[in-house]
Structure formats: C-alpha cells, structure tokens
C-alpha cells in the first residue's frame, strides 16, 4: 500500500477534485436550505481550484494559480451578493426553504 501511495500522480488529484465536485453537485440538488445550497456551490468552486492547481503543478506553469486567485475573488463577490439576496428572500417568506419560491407567477 505504501508503494501504491508512493507514486502520486496527477490522476489522484483529479479524482479528488472530481469527487469533491460531484459531492458538491449532489448537495446542491438535494438540500432545501438556500444557504446550504450556496455553500455547496462554494464546494464546487473548491474542487475546480484543486484541479487547476494540480494542472498548474503538473505543467510547471504558475498561471493556473493566478487563475485560482481570480476564482477566489469571484467567489467572494458572489457570496456576498447571494447572501444579501437570501436575507431579503428570507424576510419575504420567513423561511429558508427554497420550495417556498415555487409558484410560477409574480408574487
């Protein structure tokens, strides 16, 4: 087992990234709490970041990590605004259940 683990390759990191991404996707589709839904999207960002850094290391090019910085930036901005909106929505319906917003008409 130690030998198996002694040759960590790009594939390992990609598997981890894929698994994290899929778990994030499943969480997004499954949870009803709006905040947790957004948290799962953050998880998906995370997975993408891992993949990108792995590739950057694999090809010895720093641009991948630079891009991860930008991902971080965008994630932060998006989180801020999303949370603000969630709070507004919570005030309207007094619940965080995403199914409260399922009427297909203006409310």
């Amino acid at each position: 087992m130690i030998e198996a683990l002694s040759h960590i390759s790009l594939t390992h990191y990609l598997i981890v990234s894929a698994a994290l991404f899929v778990i994030g996707l499943v969480g997004f589709l499954v949870r009803r709490n709006m905040i947790i839904m957004f948290l799962c999207t953050e998880l998906m960002f995370q997975a993408a970041a891992i993949a990108m850094v792995a590739f950057s290391r694999f090809s010895l090019d720093v641009s991948g990590q630079v891009f991860v910085i930008f991902i971080l930036t965008v994630a932060a901005a998006e989180a801020a605004l999303a949370l603000g909106l969630i709070v507004l929505l919570y005030r309207r319906r007094e619940t965080l259940n995403s199914e409260a917003w399922s009427e297909m008409r203006e409310s």
């Binding site: 198996a4 790009l10 947790i36 948290l39 799962c40 720093v62 901005a77 989180a79």
Partner: protein, 334 residues
C-alpha cells in the same frame, strides 16, 4: 481491472452517498459514509493499475515530492468532510464542515507546492467567506416558539430527491474519472529545465531580490553592472563582482534559490495579467455596492404608491378619488 470496475465503484459511491443522505437511522448513515470512504480509497489506491490498463500516463513532473500518506490523509478528510457537509441537519455544522474541507484542500495545495494559494485560501475562504455565511445562517434562523423547539427545520432534515441527484452526480463522476484514467494522450509531461529557465528569467525582473540572493550566496558580492541571470543547459548563473575584486565572477545559482511560489505568483499577476487584476478589483467594488444597496432598509410600498411613482393611473376602485385628484390637479405631469 477495467472501466467496468470503475463504474461499479461509482455505483457503490452513489449508493453510499444516498444512504448517508436519508434521514433515517444513524447506523445506516454511518454505514453509508464508511462505504463511500472505502470506495474513494480504493479508487485512489488502484490508480496505478487503472492507469496502466486504461492507457493514461500522467505522472507529476520529475522532482516533485512524493508525499504518499499526507496526500491520502488530506484527500480523505476533504471528501469525508464534504459528505458530512451535505448530509448534516444543521446549517451551522454544514458551514463548519466546509471550513474543514477548505483546510484540507489547503493542505493539498501545500503538497502541490502552491504555498501562496494555500494560505490565500485559508485567509479568504475560511476567514472571510465562511464567517459571512455563518452570520447569515444565524441571522436567518427561525425563532423558537412554544410548539417548535430549537432543532432542525423540516427542510433541513429531509433531502429532496436524493436518488436522482446521486445518480446524476455519480454518472458525472464516472465519466470524469474515466477521462482522468484514460487520460488525454497529448498531455505532455512538463519540461523541467525549461520551466526553470523561465523562472530564472522571471527573477530578472526583481532586481532587489537578485541582489539579496547574491549577497546570500556569496557574501560581499554584488551583481555586476547590467548583469542578468542567464540560464544555460548546465544551470543558471549570474555574473557578480566581489568587493575588492576587479573582475567579474560567475556565480552559479543552485536550484534551491529559484523564486518562491509567492514571488512567482506575484510576478505573473502583475506582469502577465494586470488587466485581470484591475478587473478583479472592479468586481469587488461592484460587490460592495451591491451589498450596500441590498442592505438598505426596505420600505413596503403600497400598490398605489408604486403606481404613482411609476406615473400610472390608480386602480379602478379608486376612480372617484382619482377623478377628484385629477380634477384638482389638471396640469399634472401624467
């Protein structure tokens, strides 16, 4: 071993997550979690054989560290924390598990020799974003009432269509892992010497760091006037002049003195992607504006006031009043 076992592993993983999601007995959930962990561990362990069978070839660049156990630990913790995050009843705990995920992936970054990213991740994500999430979670919790004690809300406990979601997700995982193992044949292993050359080239832009490095290597030496680091097949060197000497010496630069990750990232950020940097700043500015706007006190406008503000007539059952209003304000801006 061939793809079919991979797919079978994905199916098992799906089942595992599904079991973990059901709001049932604790034993079931734990069993599911353990099963999932086992699957991932197997996938990671079986990677070499899978690679050889499915034709992938990528290995990390030569000279990289081979941190076997550390990698296993970090990755398993990350995945376990992620699963716990999506299955936990309480939102606060989900956020906390996410913090754990972030820390684990920071560890992975460290293993990948991306120190700056690791710390940036911890500072920005765990330190800022997740704290914001926690505040909002606590803000949006329902107050406890007589018939509703503090506990999990119904919408937190019951997942929504776990079966389909797991199925869809793990189909994707199967495909992704297929690609990862099957590999892209054109993916060429990086050329280490060329990368090193580029790195030395980049260092040239940082003259003060170069002076420091030279002073560090050879005390009392300074780079010769107009000298830059040059890379040659044998290594890199720089022409320096020692104090008290009248001639230049070639100073070979060892690989340990390559610019660090922070320096490289910083250089790239400013030298190669300045516009993106500025745009990132703009994005953050916009986010700040948006947050301020959203956080304003909302006044509940009545329907009539909204229509008035929009310059439209009032509704029908107010016709008498509006007729009077119009009669009294004939030259209105309508």
């Amino acid at each position: 071993m061939d793809p079919k076992l991979l797919y079978f592993a994905c199916v098992l993983g799906a089942a595992a997550v599904y079991l973990a999601l059901r709001p049932g007995k604790r034993g079931v959930r734990i069993a599911g979690s353990l099963l999932g962990l086992g699957v991932i561990a197997w996938m990671l362990l079986a990677t070499p054989q899978l690679l050889s069978v499915m034709g992938g070839k990528p290995a990390l660049a030569e000279g990289a560290a081979r941190p076997g156990l550390m990698f296993a630990a970090f990755s398993l913790i990350a995945i376990a924390a992620a699963v716990r995050m999506i299955t936990h009843d309480r939102p606060v705990y989900s956020a906390l598990y996410f913090v754990l995920v972030v820390l684990s992936s920071a560890g992975l970054f460290l293993l990948l020799q991306a120190e700056f990213m690791a710390f940036a991740l911890v500072i920005v994500y765990a330190g800022a974003i997740l704290i914001t999430y926690m505040f909002v979670i606590m803000l949006a919790q329902q107050a406890p009432s007589t018939d509703h004690t503090v506990g999990e809300a119904e919408y937190d406990v019951n997942p929504r269509e776990p079966g389909i979601a797991c199925g869809v997700g793990f189909i994707l995982l199967a495909v992704l892992s297929n690609m990862a193992y099957g590999g892209v044949p054109q993916l060429k292993t990086a050329d280490v010497p060329a990368a090193q050359r580029q790195a030395w080239q980049a260092m040239n832009l940082m003259s003060r760091d170069v002076e420091e490095m030279v002073a560090d290597l050879m005390p009392g030496a300074k780079p010769a006037a107009g000298a830059t680091i040059e890379s040659a097949p044998g290594g890199a060197f720089i022409t320096v002049r020692r104090e008290g000497e009248a001639f230049d010496t070639r100073l070979p630069l060892p690989p340990e003195k390559l610019p660090s990750n922070v320096q490289q990232v910083g250089l790239d950020l400013v030298a190669k992607f300045p516009v993106s940097l500025e745009l990132a700043g703009v994005i953050l500015l916009m986010a700040m504006f948006g947050a301020v706007v959203l956080a304003r006190k909302q006044i509940e406008l009545g329907e009539d006031e909204i229509r008035e503000a929009a310059g439209m007539r009032k509704l029908g059952f107010h016709a008498e009043e509006s007729a009077e209003a119009r009669a009294s304000a004939p030259g209105g801006a309508r």
